[in-house]
Amino acid sequence: MTVLSSLCRVYRLLLRAYPPEFRERYADEMASVFRDRGREIAQSRGTWRLCGYMLSTGKDWFVTVLRERMDFMQRPSLLTLRWIFLFCVVLDLVLPTGLTITRSAPVCGAVLVMYGLLVLWATTNLDDGRRTALQTGTSWGLISGVILTAWSIGGYFVRSEGTMPIFLAGWSMVLIFGCWSIAGYQAARRTATASSGWLAGCWGGVVCALVKVTCAFLLLRTSLPGPSIGIVLVAAGQHLLEAPVIGAVLGAMAGLTARIVSKGHSSPTAFGLAGGK
């Protein structure tokens, strides 16, 4: 039975590939069924037959993991995140095509791929509270991304004729930072946990940077005057590294503020009702 015990341990590990909700509900039963069936095979047909059993179970595992993962990603609550993930994949595939490779390009490409994988992980492995935080961060990140893009495009034209007005830069930053802070505040309120704030703010920064990078890349494909590909890639890396950090700090502060503001409130929408919207 040592072989069977080892196979059970392997199967337990494989079960981790299923979506969290499916795993929490069925993993114990599946492991139990696997063990019972394996024991029956080992007793009736011999231990070596377990290899064939493991192979057929492996095939079953592969097909059903894909099915459950696809099922999980079909949920409306994950719709935005799924599109963001597709967007990342397209970006990662398209960006290195036909570009002048600068020294920063591989680093920026790696950062983009990393974010693509992060989104894939986030869309399938997080609990409801964290997914809510990401949803909120996505919404406000998209808004801040549009503001940042508008500022960058406007700034480019203005700079080409002189210096950029400081008030334009100042107000843009206020709006962008404001979006990330609101994301943190809202997420903290919706999930009733202050710690959701930093996640929403951080994610808002990521989405904002991705929107900006995509728009800059799209501009490269037009005949409009704009920055070179090298500058776009360097800016991509810079935005993707700094925006999440700033967003996380602002979101955390906003989350704490939400916590302080809601203290003493007993309404069902305030803190104290876990998972409340």
Binding site: R25, M30, S32, R37, T57
Partner: protein, 119 residues
């Protein structure tokens, strides 16, 4: 709650799982064994297929989890038992009628050449 025609045709695993639950409630491994018996080992459900189907069948209201737990001395009390709902029963009946119609159509076209199934 969906009506049987909406759910038809059933996939072979779902059909055989419902058949397994037609006469008594069973746990996962019991369902797996009964499906293998029904099909002369022609359909071997893996744990992923079995519980993926059960998840969808629970959501569709075809089966439900039994609240009764077996005697700990006779069975593993961690096992969950499943039973068929009235919707599940009407659905499997409708699917059986549909399959019977398909078999009849095949028979009328003399597809059972060796005559074994034509009696």
């Amino acid at each position: 709650m969906k009506k049987p025609p909406v759910l038809l045709p059933l996939t072979p695993p779902v059909f055989h799982i419902l058949l397994a639950l037609a006469d008594e409630e069973r746990h996962g491994y019991g369902i797996m064994q009964d499906v293998a018996r029904q099909t002369n080992d022609g359909l071997q459900l893996g744990p992923g297929t079995l519980y993926g189907c059960l998840k969808r069948m629970l959501a569709a209201g075809l089966v439900e989890e039994s609240e009764e737990r077996p005697d700990p001395e006779l069975d593993d009390e961690r096992r969950r038992y499943y039973r068929m709902t009235s919707l599940g029963r009407s659905t499997v009946r409708a699917e059986a009628v549909r399959l019977a119609g398909a078999v009849e159509a095949a028979r009328s076209r003399r597809l059972f050449s060796d005559g074994k199934a034509s009696s």
